[in-house]
Amino acid sequence: MNPFEALRAAICATPGIRCDTWYLFADPNIIRFFGEGLRETITLSIASVVLSFVVGLLFALGRLSRRPWIHWPATLYIETIRALPVLLLIVYFGIKGTALFRPIAEPFVGEDFELSRFWAGVLGLSLYTSAVLAEIIRAGIAALPKGQTEAAFALGLDYVKAMRYVILPQALRLMVPAMMGQLTTVIKDTSLVATIGVFELVRQGRVIYTQYFNPLEVFLYIAVIYFVICFALSQASRRLEIRAPVEAKMKMKIEEVRLRDQVA
């Protein structure tokens, strides 16, 4: 026996390591099965990021507003949501989502309206991510020199036009690396949606290991899939960051958000 075979035999003799199930991870059907989970993970992430960006932008502008009845509700929303675990929000929407949206959706969909698990997950994730993105966007806008706003107003632009044509195009460009960093967090966070029964990567993995009793192999396999995606994205974000250095104060805020709101 050559040393590789001996090593393999020793590994496979360990109870709990299921060499007899290793062929699964090269089996086209199983790969397709995990592929479906991955597709769900990616759709969840994209839907959540898009929704969170829109909501987050509104709340960022709300928090920057000088009118107290806009500023304080926006601040309260952002700070409360950021202080809560995202899993709590997801579980809550998983249980209560249908009842919450029934009054709005019933006239359009009819009696048997039911919020799908997918959208319950997207809402739970977006509620949280919108508050986080609001803080990143706010930091980006605050990092622009004050002269930009003043010049826009002096040229006769109103608030909406100044935001639309002067402030946001510059601020959003500053935020691209931070946003990409947040995307990796959202991808990791989608794993939590498995708890309310969306068949994304982790849940698909559960189906496999309850059938073949090989949790060790399955979770390693899933971890590697997540790693490849998230590592690539975070490297890309880091590279962009180096190319576009930002102001120290904005960097501090983004660092704070990155550490405090880095979940799962």
Binding site: G16, E79, P85, L88, V202, L216, F231, L259
Partner: protein, 223 residues
């Protein structure tokens, strides 16, 4: 009144709170120890040690905590490793605490490394030329200065850790979120059951974030 349901199920909520605090506390201590150790690996003059440090940080930061917890509990459980306990509750509790420590340890490592690299080279050179060894320089010159600058970011990681203990519910630790789910399934009073837990989480995380912001300002002025 919001939170009144706590008085109806005091054992569930208080046990939940106690478990959340225990996992947070053990997780933070573990994360601090692991993070400091890995940061030292990452700035080590020995290249293979640096590679181990990088691999640790990148692996734990780029995989979901949920998958790590499942791996620690179910994956290692299949190997027969039960965290030196025959009691299943004890095993999942320890798996959760270790998971928190490893995941957040990777973030701590990055922060501590940043702090160590932020120290002026002259400090290290001065210490070495005074005859201090590599370890002594770390112990008496670099680490004390680092911990001062890294306290606010470490506080932020601590807040994230408190929130992330909710993930322990997925492997069966009866912490706050689990308590809410149990009460909800018994009473179907969803708003009250979750409202109480939201209040409890807020009483943990909001004072913590006010404290961190205060420290951040204070240390910024002192510098």
């Amino acid at each position: 009144m919001p939170g009144a349901i706590i008085l109806e199920f005091p054992d569930l909520y208080l046990n939940g709170l106690s478990l959340t605090l225990q996992v947070s506390l053990l997780g933070s201590i573990g994360a601090l120890l692991i993070g400091t150790f890995v940061a030292l690996l990452r700035i080590s003059p020995v290249a293979p040690l640096r590679w181990i440090g990088v691999a640790f940080v990148e692996f734990f930061r780029n995989t979901p905590l949920l998958v790590q917890l499942f791996f620690l509990f179910l994956g290692l459980g299949a190997l027969g490793f039960r965290f030196w306990s025959t009691n299943t509750f004890e095993t999942i509790f320890r798996a959760a605490a270790v998971g928190m420590a490893l995941y957040h340890g990777a973030y701590v490592a990055e922060v501590v490394r940043g702090g160590l690299l932020g120290i002026d080279r002259g400090q290290v050179e001065a210490a070495r030329s005074l005859g201090l060894s590599y370890v002594q320089t770390l112990r008496y010159v670099q680490l004390p200065q680092t911990f001062r600058t890294v306290i606010p970011p470490l506080g932020n990681i601590g807040i994230a850790l408190i929130k992330n203990t909710s993930l322990a519910s997925t492997i069966g630790v009866a912490e706050l979120l689990q308590a809410a789910e149990i009460v909800e399934s018994r009473t179907f009073r969803t708003e009250e059951a979750f409202g109480a837990v939201i209040l409890l989480y807020l009483t943990l995380t909001i004072p913590a974030s006010i404290g961190v912001n205060w420290l951040e300002r204070k240390l910024l002025i002192a510098r």
